[in-house]
Symmetry: D2
Subunit: 289 residues, 4 copies
């Protein structure tokens, strides 16, 4: 798992399942001087299902330029198998924008991991509907933009946010951003907005899940990282985790324990997204972790 | 936690919170030659809330008969604090009846632990709406009764079951019993019927939760042990747990992994119930585990 | 993961890493009408390391007999890459012998899973150095042999055991067998004897690990399934797990909680072994779970 | 668990076990207008063992000054039962000094929780044997002192550190401080130095435990928070946790995953210490969490 990032590339493929896919792909790569270091595959059904493939490979001995490799792959392999596919190169860091409201824990966790070099991304901007976290963010050398938002100005505020984001980021993380994005906004970033919800979805959708969890008397609390779709809290789940609680924990305790869960689950989901380990299949995910 | 069972007794108390409760109770017990070996307390709110107390104590030096101790406690302590209370003696094993349909894993787990001496109960009867598990149950020397049940005969079948149960058992465990008990049946055993639901409640109430979990694409499956109330899957939760799954797990895999969760969660909940560690407070539980 | 067992085959390969292995193997299989349903690979080092490959494939359209397929694979692929390899067929159930002393929990867990169809093995014999568990084993329709063993008769007793085992079993599980096998015995079943040790190895090797854990005051107990080598408790680890404990747990409590861990860890390890998911690499394992 | 800190006090007691202790203590407190909100007790053996008691209580209606309360408790209760005891008041924040080398994750975790108000301590100083983390620490408004240390200057450097610490702190946290403290240093802060060791002790004592874990091929890595005694990695364990790893994880991966464990385990242990939830009993701890 600890590969030299600068020569690492990844090929993600989705296509109808049929025999011979892996043979065709790996033979193609072999003939172009590529050494495969990770290979994961999944089929929803060998007879008529969808096939998913992720390859991580090293390109120091690649015999052609990237564009030529990709053109050759399209012609020699991809078109025959009707593949949706893409190659990404670890040297090209994806650009991650962050949206946040007032809770800083999920945001700080990501910034801290990024600063340590654990998250190989660029961070063009942090946008918040509150001014509170400016100083904390700017300390990391990251741009902070305050875009106030309320019911009356929602469309206008989203337009300002999109002006800051479009062309500047490859994906967006909602690090406890407490406003609901419009369907139009979401549609601009399909499968490219990650949210952390502070419950074990589908339990406790909607507002104040820790209060809901307390009221129901659950013995575990949870957190869920998922891609945002137009249906609130219904998008494809990337990762989840739970922690044990008891009758001794009141709502503030659940929030405190939940923060730790949220930080870990979101960090893991973002890492997997950045490393191209997540493929969306309908309303579910394939995670080649 | 490993006490001599034959001289162990437990006192469970629920009352309005106010200062002095623990002092009054422990002073009373001290004066009657009792040695307290476990003490757990909980208050929902020190100002006007409910107070819960569980004491485990050893009675070898008890200076009065049980009835006298209980009468003295009522007069000297309980009436003053408006306590709901009861004392149970570990030497008096509770009688646990089991209801099961066709899945044997939860049933076998309990029978196996009982045979090993891990569960200090008597088992007067296992009732099933199917004949399948007779031999497996009778091997343990336990009585098996087949009571067929369908929509037309539901009331009559429940009457037969109650005839087998009433006066014969102190509590009932639904070890994957797949029929819904009527409100009348449930009302006969308030807070004394334990069910194992094969999901992390409140996610996936109702039928076939593993299929529901698969369809939603969750990354954890769960199991929940709860007391049965008239509202299906809504009763007070005693214990829950989760296990990690992935896109590779299809519904039969979820069922297989879920069986292990169900066995453990149910066994833990039953153990806690038997040791008088669970107090119901509205729709939630206090578990002094 | 839930494949039709009767047409499932698995190919396990270990060889020096070099480019082109996956391409060669998958192309070969494709040309013989095989549909690959799982593929896992691992390299200790793409430059000069060892390469490990596990394929699960479906053989309903296999175009040649098994022997012909294997001969062709050897000639066309395996010899070129200097592979250690084997193909196993899920229809050929491996034969699992069990050794046990007095504690029945690990044994019962395996027998129970086997009876349910979760463990696709045949069980030719259970051998014990005590007579205690005969009835419990024979109820499952499994042969039970009591081979007493003590210091004076050790060699002779092992000879009796080997007479019962050799040619009758493919691998052996020590389901809490408390005697140490001789180096000669172990050498007969290299990487084919699985033991469950009741601690998180390498902590607490040797006798009475729960007492050791209690004395050290650990906050987690563990269990470890490993292949047996001539060095006690030093063999390649297949699986481990831990459970939280506290100062309230005395040694009998640790034993009770530990039993649940041991059952689960051993069952998982045996399952992985049976499904050819474990490859030994020196003193470590690759587990394609 | 979420009490008003400014009126919260805690009483910790260790004494020989005998009947009547809880009655005496709670009756005393009741008569002084104190409302007990948490009570935990533990006995190593009701017959001749040690008894441990922790009470958390609210003092808004306390009828005497602190000193008078404590004097009265000593005379009326503590001397009779030969108690070691102390009362602490949540309003008096303990002073926590931090020692660190180059790895910042454990340090940052504690500073971040402290800044959020999760850790109710004052932090007089962070001391490091490297200059690297000065800026990161000073951003939190915390004093940073660089005290270089090597074999030749060890005694002198420790003297400088003690000059910074003595009288300025109540306890010390080694947040990945990679130098071994002398026995003399340790003796100055008995049961008041907390270390985070990056393994599941007692496995992998000493240097580079992640490399040791990798070499042994374990399937879980761990972290252990413990009090420092003169014997390296042998002190009373406060908390531990583990995380699952596989053959895919090389040493840098173990370090990365281990950082998350270390942060959580250390933060939990420090929190428990600060809330007076940990009592040392020989080489083990009682944790009333």
């Amino acid at each position: 798992m600890s590969t030299e990032p600068d020569t690492t590339a990844r090929l993600l493929i989705t296509c109808p399942d049929q025999p011979g896919i892996v043979a065709a792909v790996t033979t193609f790569l072999y003939h172009h001087g590529v050494n495969i270091t990770e290979l994961d595959q999944h089929s929803t059904d060998p007879e008529g299902g969808r096939f998913f493939l992720r390859l991580e490979f090293q390109t120091p001995h690649l015999d052609v330029p990237r564009a030529a490799l990709e053109r050759a792959f399209r012609e020699a392999v991809a078109s025959h198998f009707e593949m949706n596919w893409r190659i990404s190169y670890a040297a090209d860091k994806p650009r991650m924008a962050l949206l946040v409201s007032r809770h800083d824990h999920a945001l700080m966790e990501l910034l801290w991991r990024w600063q340590r070099g654990e998250l190989r991304v660029d961070i063009p901007v942090v946008i918040s509907n509150h001014p509170d976290l400016r100083e904390a963010v700017e300390r990391f050398g990251v741009r902070y933009e305050h875009v106030a938002i309320d019911a009356a100005t929602h469309a206008e505020s989203e337009a300002r946010m999109l002006a800051l984001l479009d062309g500047q980021c490859d994906f967006i993380v909602l690090a406890r951003y407490m406003r609901i994005l419009s369907a139009e906004f979401v549609a601009r970033y399909p499968q490219r907005i990650i949210n952390i919800h502070h419950s074990f979805l589908p339990a406790f959708v909607g507002a104040d899940p820790y209060q809901q969890a307390y009221d129901r008397g659950v013995k575990l609390i949870g957190a869920t990282a998922h891609y945002v779709t137009r249906d609130l809290d219904q998008g494809p789940i990337i990762d989840q985790d739970t922690a044990r609680v008891s009758h001794r924990h009141e709502v503030p305790d659940l929030r405190r324990l939940g923060r730790d869960l949220e930080r870990q689950v979101l960090a893991r989901a973002v890492r997997w997204h950045v490393e191209d380990r997540v493929i969306v299949n309908g309303n579910k995910t394939i995670v080649f972790a």
